[in-house]
């Protein structure tokens, strides 16, 4: 990664707050994601990581704070503008979230049919689907239903679907959760190769230390809804702070 001063932030979150009744999940969380960066957000289960990332794509409305993607405030923008901006963001859900009534091909065609005019050098629906599936090594599964695929394969198809509109930012919500170590490692390597191939900025929500070690350029620890610590993997894993240390204990 280059020096931060020379890089532009593609995503900026300032003082984000979100509560569900009396449960204050986010209490002023902030971050900046720079162009081409892999930023890992780590936190315990229930610390508000998924809530935060859902606020960033407009699935949840924060109580206060600001979220700026490519210099546009997503909280105040209208639905059609938000839908347009969402085409520049790929999102990998924790449980893959493939449409189970559609084949793998139809899953990938679904966002493409609506937004193909927004893709530069569009080569046709079929070609784009095959290219995305090829990049995750699942071209042979193109006509299968999601229920015919293993958990790891489903995650890869979901990744291909997130990539199909050639987004500039990809958000991964617990990409390795529920997978065996070998499949998890395959997914991590895939994420690295995609980052190189598509030159995306990635925001990775995880509590998987191995995933963070391999993929992160920078990390933020989320504790009690706020930024607890920030730095590279080496800086945080060698920290003397007991709470930071606790994350890296195996």
């Amino acid at each position: 990664m280059d020096n931060k001063e020379t890089l532009k932030p593609v995503l900026e979150v300032k003082n984000l707050q979100k509560s569900f009744g009396d449960n204050h999940v986010l209490k002023g969380f902030s971050l900046k994601l720079y162009e081409g960066e892999n930023l890992v957000i780590m936190g315990k289960s229930g610390s508000g990581k998924s809530v935060m990332v859902k606020c960033m794509v407009g699935l949840l409305q924060p109580d206060s704070g600001s979220i700026t993607i490519k210099k546009q405030d997503i909280i105040t923008m209208g639905q059609s503008e938000l839908d347009f901006l969402r085409t520049e963001i790929g999102f990998l859900f924790q449980g893959s979230a493939l449409y189970d009534s559609m084949t793998v091909r139809e899953n990938l065609e679904f966002p493409l049919r609506r937004h193909k005019d927004k893709i530069k050098d569009f080569k046709g629906t079929d070609e784009s689907v095959k290219q995305a599936l090829e990049s995750v090594g699942l071209l042979k599964s193109i006509d299968l239903m999601p229920s015919d695929l293993s958990g790891g394969m489903q995650r890869r198809v979901a990744l291909a679907r997130a990539l199909i509109l050639k987004p500039k930012i990809i958000m991964y919500d617990e990409p390795t959760t529920g997978l065996d170590p070998i499949t998890a490692n395959e997914i991590i390597q895939l994420m690295r190769s995609i980052q190189k191939e598509y030159n995306t900025s990635s925001l990775i929500i995880t509590h998987d230390v191995d995933c963070a070690r391999v993929i992160s350029n920078r990390m933020i620890l989320l504790v009690d809804g706020t930024n607890y610590a920030e730095g590279t993997y080496e800086e945080l894993s060698n920290s003397n702070d007991p709470q930071t240390k606790a994350f890296f204990k195996h």
């Binding site: 639905q79 969402r86 963001i89 493939l98 189970d100 609506r114 509109l165």
Partner: protein, 274 residues
């Protein structure tokens, strides 16, 4: 009110029952409010582009074609049984020649639409509730939204429109098959020819019977679609919630169908002098 206030101030089992009743009533009215808002959103979205015609056609096929067999079987048995059960009474009064008229009027006006709507509430309403519910808990609806597609438009509007359009057609088919079932019984038991049976049956029907009955099936279809999609789209509590969404979709729709039927008959009585 005084009694409620008195009971609420006293810690008795009776008080807890009153509190629970008040809470349930509050929840019931809150749900009615939410459903009204949901219906309002449907009318707001239905005229907006994109119209998702491909998905609408797919839903029409799923709901119409795949319910056809069930509707035909139910309609046939309905006509058959209704005629068999009514025959002895009409024979006793020497009014067996009225059979085609009585059957056609009762089936077209009331029994056909209500029975077929109830069957579709069970088959289609619960199916919509379960499908959208499971999509909700597995984050498929969120995935759709994140990909820049309006899930309300794609999933809710298309399903409500499809069942609203398909139910009247299913009822017409069901009514026709029920009359055919009835004609078979009359032919076998009373030696009435099919031509004579249908001549009498259609002679006793007027537009005042057919139009209100058909119009009310449009409202029945809308109710089935609205409740099913509302329950599924707002499903919570994981897989348990999916079961609850499916089950409550059928219960609420069945209740709503009878309420709509009552209103429809009341209004028809004023405007069509039935």
């Amino acid at each position: 009110m005084i009694i409620v206030a008195y009971l609420a101030g006293h810690s008795t089992p009776c008080m807890s029952k009153v509190n629970s009743l008040l809470n349930r009533s509050k929840m019931f009215f809150a749900e009615i409010g939410d459903m009204t808002y949901f219906a309002g959103r449907f009318f707001k979205e239905v005229f907006k582009r994109p119209f998702e015609l491909k998905e609408l056609m797919r839903q029409c096929y799923n709901m119409g074609n795949r319910s056809l067999f069930l509707v035909v079987v139910t309609g046939f048995i309905l006509g058959l049984v209704f005629t068999l059960q009514s025959r002895p009474t009409l024979t006793e009064f020497g009014a067996v020649s009225w059979m085609p008229s009585m059957i056609s009027v009762s089936i077209i006006r009331e029994i056909g639409p209500v029975m077929i709507a109830l069957i579709c509430a069970g088959r289609i309403g619960s199916g919509i509730g379960a499908e959208l519910g499971s999509m909700k808990v597995t984050e498929q609806i969120d995935a759709m939204e994140v990909s820049g597609t309006n899930p309300f438009k794609y999933l809710v509007v298309t399903r409500i429109l499809a069942i609203t359009m398909m139910l009247p057609l299913l009822v017409i088919v069901g009514d026709a098959v029920a009359l055919f079932g009835s004609a078979i019984v009359e032919n076998l038991k009373g030696g009435v020819s099919f031509t004579l049976y249908f001549n009498i049956a259609f002679k006793s029907l007027s537009f005042n019977d057919i139009i209100p009955a058909t119009v009310k099936t449009v409202f029945f279809g809308f109710a089935i679609g609205l409740v099913g999609t509302y329950k599924g789209y707002n499903c919570a509590k994981g897989t348990v919630g999916v079961g609850e969404a499916s089950n409550s979709a059928v219960v609420y729709t069945s209740m709503l169908l009878f309420i709509i039927d009552f209103i429809a008959v009341f209004v028809s009585d004023i405007f069509f002098e039935i």
